[in-house]
Symmetry: C2
Subunit: 216 residues, 2 copies
């Protein structure tokens, strides 16, 4: 079922990777419902997916379906977990513990997928030195030391736009290789660091585009 050892993955579109995440959620739910096997058509119907798209996305990574049976739910889920790097735990640094940072800290979806916030960084003197659910809150002057000591490669940035670039520069210097950025600003990182912007108003703007189009 898995790709041959030594098989080099072709360049995978980011939308395919995002859909793999969606498929793992669907498979998890099927597993919880006691479903053992499912066809791409059934999968598509049950979760509002496109069955041709499902087959095309999975085909990037190997041959997962079995003729006359479909997919083995647990087996496919385990494969997708491995492909997405979810078969391990990723220690995470959360920078900024305001409203958004707090919401992200408590967001169950992260820990469920193996993302574990191990350190919170914030320069509010009333917060430094405290703990949240056993996770220490440290000042940004200690950021590099904490990140190295805890083997953190991924950071989530939830600071105001004005301070985001400074924080990101510090994270890069400390050896962070992937950043999920919630600050509404364009950031610069070196080529070997993967930056993913989550701009919540862009999501609303795509909605307003379609609403406005309906009235034009």
């Amino acid at each position: 079922m898995a790709p041959r050892p030594g098989y080099r993955l072709p360049k995978i579109p980011e939308m395919t990777v995002r859909r793999l995440s969606v498929y793992t959620r669907c498979l998890l739910q099927l597993e919880e419902d006691g479903v053992k096997t499912i066809s791409s058509q059934e999968l598509a119907e049950r979760f509002n997916l496109n069955s041709a798209q499902v087959r095309k996305d999975l085909a990037y990574f190997g041959e997962f379906g079995v003729r006359g049976i479909g997919y083995y739910v647990s087996g496919l889920k385990a494969e997708l977990h491995r492909i997405l790097g979810l078969d391990r735990s990723w220690p995470i640094a959360l920078v900024g513990i305001g409203n958004l940072g707090s919401a992200l800290f408590h967001y169950r979806g992260f820990s469920r997928q193996g993302f574990r916030i191990v350190v919170v960084i914030d320069d509010d003197p009333t917060k430094i030195g405290r703990e949240m659910d056993g996770v220490p809150i440290v000042a940004s002057r200690d950021l590099a030391r904490e990140i190295k000591a805890r083997g953190v490669q991924v950071a989530v940035v939830a600071v105001p736009a004005e301070s985001a670039q400074i924080v990101v520069d510090q994270l890069v210097t400390a050896g962070i290789k992937a950043i999920l950025n919630f600050a509404p600003t364009r950031l610069k990182v070196p080529r070997d660091v993967r930056l993913k912007d989550v701009d919540l108003s862009i999501e609303l703007e795509t909605l307003s585009f379609y609403l406005a189009k309906g009235t034009r």
Copy 2:
């Protein structure tokens, strides 16, 4: 500069719409910096964009560049605002005012783009009847009445996964046409309602995919 009256827009890829949002942010910043005109190359360099992509995205909507000059910053920004439906104010209902709901309530990016939260819906009895910055918090049994009275077409859902489908069904019944969903679950809506899921762990998973790939 604008498309001819009566010109029917071709089907626009969602990624193009998302990038238009990014371009409006870049143009806003240029405007604030006093820049009057800019070429697609300069725009791309300054904001880490792809100049061919910029030209292709804009070409869906008309001919915006002027030979030898480039784009007029303010004019292009105004056009993109109109295309994205940002030349008007969209009243919004926010459902759920926990940590994430509070973060979204205070998220400056929304109001800056014309999205105005006009009513908050939450069934916590300690919150119902109160106001946040002048915005009333009402119980879900009053959802339909409030949404109709305030002409709301867009809702932001920030409730736990278990209650999301119930809330969304209520919103659809009340006449909501676009939903931005933060609950980590797959929801069903009628075809004429636009649903946009924001699953924050998917963003982290695309990062872990690329990190894991680097070590394979």
